[in-house]
């Protein structure tokens, strides 16, 4: 009897001791992040799966939006702290109309060699002579499918048309409101003549003989921004330290992401993480499109000039999606990334 | 033309074999050029009988025929000899007064000008001149009643079948319509079968009152009404009228009590 009691007591005490010892020095910060199924979120997924956020005391709750556009209303409503934010017209309008958000990090851009958007045409058009960017002029009067108005896809396609001397507002018919996978199929059925889609869809269409890629985004506008991370301003004001730590873990994720893009064979673990967390699903697919994963700025800074260029374009003479432009100071807080980089170099938490 | 009803029975099919006997071996000769009133409690089958006479309902057994009292040969009336005036009027709400009245003639294929001319005459004769283009919904209850009458009378059929036509009217209008009917009868001497549950009305209008039993409907008694014609409302106060009323009242009361008891029993079961 006494032996049993003694054993129970000892077990209980060591259990309590374990609880006390494993208590972190302070409670973790809960951070809710809006993400989508695209590979441009790769650095985030890597940092999360490898526990970098946790190591820095951040408890991550991911909310997945199949259509990234819906993440923006969610963060405005206060359901998220961070969110992916594509460099599209709605970014400028949201902030201009008082959305309490600010852009702090890069989340993928079309660095030459790593372009993540692709301009494709139907097989028929290709046979008719539209074989490269130089032939873009032949797209006059044709139907071009892009996911949404003001999207980076529409931006890239429009720039290709401009380079060929066409008026992107008047000389083509834009097909929008269709999800990218469906646009890809429409290409195959000649219900659109050209598309600008995420790279994997262009490859898929090409492999199925629906239509070849005639130009990558990095050939049309080298280095154009694709997406960013935005943070809620009240969260930034209240807990800037947490935002900086987020950026620190994210920066580490960026390092591994970019490295794996250049040599996926040597980074099977990264490839697996990307396969599991994006629409690509299978590691072979992830490898197949490398290095067209987009490139994420090593210093994490959003591409300010590119984004401002886009704002000018959407409020310019061809399209009037944006009426009130947002000044640079209201769009970006570059110090979060800068502080994160400095602290990483000083504290070296991941070495 | 007498209307001869011989051993007419009507059984409404019910569930599980047992049906409802509405009429049981009803036999009567309705004399031509007379008003005969069918008087009875609710559910006694009087409406069913009149619809069988009209040819709109079939008898389960028995027959209805027309006999010429002078010549004795028989024909079957199939509605072409009789015309109905309904309790709830059944006016066509989308047709104007004149198109309602002219309906029967329209069905016969008469040209519009001709049938409208006849309709106008009838409409004037029931006192509705000026309302030809009105819709029934725009008229009062009494006016609608007169449209229904005109629609029936225009058919110029010898037999007029009336199924509690004045039951839904208020007391004042009812009196007016009763006088109207008396006037029409005096002018045309049609054979009228008049169904009612109002004793006073039956005696005032009828040459004969057939008192029916509670369900199943049979003839309880036939009362001859010897009051002189032309009749008018003042008759109601006369002594003879009072005696006839008492007689009818007692007959009816028995049957009404029976009906109520039956309904109560059905309710309790």
């Amino acid at each position: 009897m006494i032996g049993l009691m003694g054993r129970l007591l000892a077990a209980g005490m060591s259990f309590c001791a374990a609880l006390i010892v494993n208590q972190p020095s302070r409670a973790a910060d809960l951070v809710r992040v809006g993400e989508g199924p695209f590979i441009t979120g790769g650095a985030f997924f890597i940092a999360r799966e490898k526990g970098y956020f946790k190591k820095l005391g951040l408890e991550i709750e991911t909310k997945r939006f199949e259509d990234g556009a819906f993440a923006v209303p969610a963060i405005i409503a206060g359901e998220l702290e961070f969110t992916l934010m594509t460099a599209n017209a709605s970014l400028f309008n949201s902030i201009a109309k008082g959305a309490p958000l600010i852009v702090i990090l890069d989340r993928g851009h079309n660095r030459p060699g790593f372009g993540y958007t692709a301009l494709s045409v139907t097989q028929a058009l290709h046979d008719d002579g539209v074989k490269s960017l130089a032939d873009a002029g032949k797209l006059k009067g044709k139907r071009i499918g892009v996911g949404a108005l003001g999207s980076i896809n529409q931006y890239n396609a429009a720039q290709a048309l401009l380079k060929a001397g066409l008026d992107p507002a008047k000389d083509v018919q834009w097909i929008v409101n269709v999800p990218q996978p469906d646009l890809m199929r429409m290409l195959g059925q000649n219900q659109v003549d050209a598309t600008d889609l995420a790279y994997q869809f262009g490859v898929f269409a090409q492999n199925n003989k629906w239509g070849p890629i005639i130009a990558n985004g990095d050939q049309i506008v080298p280095g154009a921004e694709i997406a960013t991370y935005a943070v809620r301003k009240d969260f930034l004001a209240k807990n800037r330290d947490a935002a900086v730590r987020f950026a620190m873990a994210y920066l580490q994720g960026i390092k591994e992401f970019n490295a794996a893009a250049k040599d996926p064979g040597a980074h099977a673990d990264i490839v697996d993480i990307l396969a599991q967390n994006t629409a690509l699903n299978k590691p072979e697919l992830v490898k197949a499109i490398a290095p067209h994963w987009s490139y994420i700025a090593d210093d994490g800074l959003p591409l300010v000039d590119s984004i401002l260029e886009m704002q000018d374009f959407w409020s310019g003479k061809y399209f009037s999606f944006v009426e009130k432009k947002v000044p640079r100071e209201q769009l970006f807080d570059l110090n979060v990334a800068k502080e994160a980089k400095a602290r990483l170099e000083k504290e070296k938490p991941f070495n | 033309m007498d209307v001869v009803v011989e051993q007419v029975s009507k059984i409404w099919p019910g569930t599980r074999g047992s049906g409802v006997v509405a009429l049981e071996n009803f036999s009567h000769r309705f004399c031509s050029r007379r008003i005969t009133c069918l008087l009875g409690p609710s559910g006694c089958g009087k409406s069913t009988l009149i619809q069988i006479v009209a040819g709109l309902e079939s008898a389960s057994s028995g027959s209805v025929s027309i006999v010429d009292p002078q010549r004795g040969d028989t024909r079957r009336p199939l509605g072409a000899d009789s015309v109905m005036v309904w309790q709830n009027l059944n006016l066509f709400p989308w047709r104007s007064v004149i198109d309602n009245v002219a309906f029967g003639l329209e069905m016969q294929g008469m040209a519009k000008a001709a049938r409208h001319q006849r309709a106008r005459t009838l409409i004037a004769s029931v006192g509705l001149r000026g309302f030809e283009t009105h819709l029934p919904g725009q008229l009062s209850g009494g006016m609608r009643q007169r449209v229904a009458l005109a629609r029936a009378l225009i058919m110029a059929r010898p037999i007029l079948l009336m199924d509690e036509p004045f039951a839904a009217l208020d007391a004042q209008t009812k009196i007016v319509m009763q006088e109207e009917l008396l006037r029409i009868f005096d002018a045309t001497h049609k054979t009228i079968l008049f169904v009612t549950h109002a004793i006073e009305e039956a005696i005032l209008l009828g040459d004969e009152v057939v008192v029916m039993t509670a369900r199943p409907g049979r003839i309880k008694e036939v009362i001859a009404i010897d009051l002189p014609r032309p009749r008018s409302l003042e008759l109601v106060n006369s002594r003879d009228f009072g005696l006839l009323f008492d007689r009818a009242f007692h007959l009816i009361r028995e049957e009404v009590t029976k009906t109520l008891a039956e309904q109560a029993a059905a309710g309790l079961r």
Binding site: G145, V192 | M107
Partner: protein
């Protein structure tokens, strides 16, 4: 009579007054609480955009396209619905066959058919008109058939008594008597047609304009004032269409509202 007259005026003005009151309260709320347009634009700025959209032609153009599509879809649905409903009423065989199909297809949410339709007929006018016609068809045919089946037996007996043959009864009694039901079906069908045309313009890719297109393209770029402006226009159009239908009903079938 003076008291009655002023009560009448008050009654017809009251709805408009409540709209104005709500608008004023909304404006006050936005201004006093400093609500950013991304959450709730002020009525004053919505009106400015409404004016702009009217002047630059985008509103009249898109509204016109939507109305045209609604009208065509509704006309097709009304004609086919009434025809089939009457046929079902006149022939027991047709009724039994059609009834099965209607019962099976009616409950399907037609919006779910849109991707399928697009695959078959593309994203042009065809699919928008088809989806709105198909959806509006059902309430029309169902109400028409019900109206014919439920004809007041008394009217039929009266017609028979007055010498009408079966064909005359069908044409001169049953069908006119079914008009209130048919109208009810047409009202429902019109509402459905409006909703489905706008939805079809929003879902499924196209740049072919319409109020749905205006809604979604403004929404995509977060032009919140334009979204509100479009919604207000749709609401007003809806109200006008309903009032117009009621007016036409009264002109065509005045007896329906009598005692």
């Amino acid at each position: 009579m003076k008291a009655g007259r002023s009560a009448q005026i008050w009654e017809s003005v009251l709805p408009a007054l409540t709209v104005v009151a709500v608008a004023l309260a909304w404006e006050a709320l936005v201004r006093l609480r400093g609500i950013a347009p991304i959450y709730l634009p002020a009525p004053s700025s919505v009106l400015v955009y409404l004016w702009q959209m009217t002047v630059d032609g985008s509103l009249p153009y898109n509204l016109g396209i939507t109305l045209l599509r609604i009208f065509v879809g509704f006309a097709v649905a009304a004609a086919s619905g009434i025809l089939l409903g009457v046929a079902m009423g006149m022939s027991h065989t047709i009724a039994r066959v059609a009834d099965v199909w209607i019962a099976a297809l009616y409950p399907l949410p037609k919006i779910s058919l849109i991707p399928l339709l697009i695959i078959w007929v593309g994203t042009g006018e065809a699919y928008k008109i088809v989806i709105s016609a198909v959806s509006a068809f059902f309430p029309v045919v169902i109400s028409t058939y019900a109206g014919i089946r439920q004809t007041d037996r008394g009217l039929i007996m009266a017609a028979k008594d007055l010498g009408a043959n079966p064909r005359q009864i069908q044409m001169k009694v049953v069908i006119p008597a079914a008009i209130p039901s048919i109208f009810a079906g047409l009202h429902l069908g019109m509402g459905v047609a409006i909703i489905l045309v706008v939805a079809a313009e929003m879902i499924g890719g196209s740049s072919q304009g319409g109020m749905g297109w205006l809604l979604i393209s403004s929404g995509q770029v977060m032009a919140t004032e334009k979204v509100f402006a479009s919604l207000i226009v749709l609401a007003v159009v809806g109200a006008i269409v309903i009032k117009l239908q009621q007016w036409i009903d009264r002109k065509v079938a005045p007896w329906v509202h009598h005692g």
